[in-house]
């Protein structure tokens, strides 16, 4: 019984549920924030402190804040979408299919843990130097390409949002 896991796992699931179930966008964003934090906690547990930090810093700190800004920008506080639900049947079907997906993936990956070659964690697993080694050796090219990606996002974002450049 791993209480740490269960606490944060259930927290993330509940927060996730809240994220997709909250009526308003802002509470939904708060829910997502909770998910992020719960996951960050789990990352810590999984010997990934760096990821946990990034999770909080980048995801919660940057990405989500961006989303929140946009929510503020586009929606009046407390604004709700019309109550009448358009396209209900498809959405119901979507929800049902999502549930099926969870079930199927869970069923499908049931035996995975027996196959995966479990290894004992080496010394210093997850510490930044090890991370950096890998990052700048094996994943150098990925890094370069990601930089291009960010450049594209930059250009695109600027083009789209600025009225006059």
């Amino acid at each position: 019984m791993d209480l740490y896991f269960w606490v944060f796992a259930s927290m993330s699931v509940l927060a996730g549920l809240f994220t997709i179930a909250a009526r308003d966008a802002l509470p939904s964003a708060m829910g997502l924030l909770t998910v992020f934090i719960a996951l960050a906690s789990l990352y810590l547990h999984l010997h990934a402190p760096l990821i946990a930090i990034f999770q909080v810093a980048i995801y919660a700190g940057a990405i989500l804040i961006l989303v929140v800004f946009v929510i503020m920008l586009l929606m009046a506080p407390g604004e709700r979408l019309a109550a009448i639900q358009a396209n209900v049947s498809y959405r119901g079907a979507g929800a049902l299919l999502g549930l099926c997906l969870i079930g199927l993936v869970a069923v499908g990956t049931k035996g995975v843990s027996e196959i995966v070659s479990m290894k004992a964690l080496p010394e210093g697993f997850g510490n930044p130097s090890m991370f950096g080694d890998l990052f700048f050796r094996d994943f150098l090219l990925h890094f370069e390409v990601v930089s291009v990606l960010l450049l594209v996002a930059l250009i695109g974002g600027i083009y789209l949002c600025k009225k006059k450049l």
Binding site: V105, V107, T109, V116, F136, R137, F139, H142, G156, Y159
Partner: protein, 514 residues
């Protein structure tokens, strides 16, 4: 190994990713050129940017072909490879890029858009596609896919004053992200199962271990595939296509329909065959001998693709029939074409892969041609895109209409055009493997296809005009591109062997990706 600890030398990098590097450098240069030029915005500058983009594509193309194609061995830098297959697909993408940039000069002018970010994004889109096709690493695939996608999202939204463009782009973005999340989940699962993201290593691990019997692998495969099916626009992952194609700027639609699709098909074929079929066993390398076991997976993916191909051909063609908007109709048609190409993939033989490559090439020519004419007849985006608008234009704009007719005839798969040969190749491949029923059903959907393609032609030639339509200014660059496409279609329709040989060599190189 250099002292930095890289697993590759710079010269190797230059060999394998030279084309990408050229494009990257060109992209950066263009940004500065743009900044320098945009102090006073004039259409000429945009044209200059267009020419420069086309030029950089050309240089990259030249480089990739001259360097990559002449290499006897596949050069890998762990994440990228320069097998001839990737070069072939990249060449298609670059060709589409050249078409796009040449036509865009006229397009932007006709739409009074004096924005040169367009070309930079186009360049990065092409870059992303090539990077994706060259990658042999699932993570790199994902990242490159995102580079390509993000560029195209922005390009799709490029008509800022046009609500349709924005709406299409948002749908594209949302669904695209949704799809790439699938892909990512698949990557994660695959990583977990095999401990690697390199596709050849995955193949090795899958074939040696007890993994093949584990349904988790199948979950991963399904996730990966569905992410790619989205980009390939196979039914039922196709739903974004018509909306996005209709909304986006015509040239970008053309680009999406050709380059992006070529990239998606390229990467799908590479992933599918290298990782999930025994193709590597053909290489004769002892360490890949075990991959013959992967043949067991055919039980899963072949029937799947069988149904997908059928449904895709059927739905694409059928729904296209009731479209009034030509652009949207072409979107459905591109779905149908994807279905035909899948036919070649199912065949899982040399002819099939060769056929798909040939088909992609031909399809790029004819589709870009069609979108080129479409934008020219349009004047300004959305002005004259419906069948009604096309009525009687045949004798008013004979050259454009003739080209349109030619491209559509080719799409309908009638000889002597490249479209026919392409269809012939993929159908022949499928039939060779005994998929007679699928081929027969598929070819029946071609009849439906012929109907709506010809409907455009008959609107052009056989009906009296219902309203005055003024085509846009026909720019020289567009005309050059169109004529080149038309000649290409005719040439390939009559003498396909040369390209087919090349495509065959290209597909054979898939066995050497390790």
């Amino acid at each position: 190994m250099s002292d930095l600890g890289f697993s590759f030398s710079l010269s190797q990098l230059w060999q394998v990713a030279g084309g990408q590097i050229i494009l990257l450098i060109a992209g950066l240069v263009l940004i500065f050129v743009d900044l320098w030029l945009s102090t006073d915005e004039k259409p000429d500058h945009v044209a200059t940017m267009g020419w420069l983009t086309a030029l950089s594509f050309l240089v990259a193309l030249k480089y990739m072909i001259c360097t990559g194609w002449t290499l006897n061995e596949i050069v890998l830098v762990d994440v990228f490879s320069t097998e001839k297959f990737a070069i072939f697909v990249s060449a298609i993408v670059l060709m589409a890029g050249i078409f796009a940039s040449l036509m865009s000069i006229g397009y932007l002018r006709n739409n009074k858009l004096v924005r040169s970010e367009y070309f930079i994004l186009l360049l990065f889109a092409v870059y992303g596609t090539i990077a994706m096709v060259q990658s042999v690493d699932l993570l790199m695939m994902f990242i490159a896919l995102e580079v390509m996608s993000l560029s195209v999202y922005v390009l799709a939204a490029f008509l800022k004053d046009d609500r349709k463009s924005q709406e299409g782009a948002l749908k594209y973005f949302l669904l695209g992200s949704f799809g790439s999340a699938f892909f990512l989940f698949g990557v994660a699962l695959m990583y977990g199962l095999t401990g690697t993201v390199n596709i050849t290593k995955i193949a090795q691990v899958l074939s040696t271990g007890p993994l093949l019997e584990n349904p988790g692998v199948l979950v991963a495969i399904a996730m990966l595939m569905s992410g790619l099916f989205f980009k390939m626009a196979l039914v039922p992952f196709h739903m974004w296509t018509p909306d996005v194609y209709e909304g986006s700027p015509a040239i970008i639609t053309g680009f999406m329909a050709t380059a992006v699709k070529a990239g998606a098909f390229g990467i799908f074929i590479k992933l599918l065959y290298v990782t999930f079929t025994p193709i590597l066993a053909h290489s004769g390398q002892p360490e890949f001998q075990s991959t013959v076991n992967l043949a067991a997976l055919a039980v899963y993916w072949k029937p799947l693709l069988w149904w997908l191909a059928l449904i895709t051909m059927f739905v694409g063609n059928l729904v296209a029939v009731s479209q009034q908007n030509v652009k949207r109709m072409l979107a459905y048609s591109s779905i149908a074409h994807a279905g035909y190409m899948v036919l070649g993939i199912i065949a899982a033989n040399d002819e099939g892969r060769m056929g798909v490559l040939f088909y992609l090439f031909a399809y790029t020519l004819m589709n870009f041609g069609a979108f080129g004419v479409l934008y020219l007849l349009d004047g300004q985006e959305g002005k004259a895109q419906t069948l009604d608008d096309y009525k009687g234009l045949g004798f008013k704009y004979p050259a454009l209409s003739f080209l349109m007719a030619l491209f559509l005839v080719s799409m309908a798969g009638l000889p002597p055009t490249a479209g026919f040969i392409g269809k012939f190749y993929v159908f022949a491949a499928a039939i060779k493997e005994g998929y007679l029923l699928l081929a027969a059903l598929g070819i029946m959907t071609c009849v439906i296809g012929a109907y709506y393609y010809l409907r455009v032609i008959w609107m052009l030639y056989m009906v009296e005009p219902s309203r005055e339509v003024v085509a846009g200014r026909v720019s020289v660059t567009s005309m050059i591109a169109l004529i080149a496409a038309a000649l290409g279609i005719m040439y390939l329709g009559i003498l396909p062997e040369g390209l087919a040989q090349v495509a065959n060599v290209a597909q054979q190189s898939l066995a050497m990706v390790f």
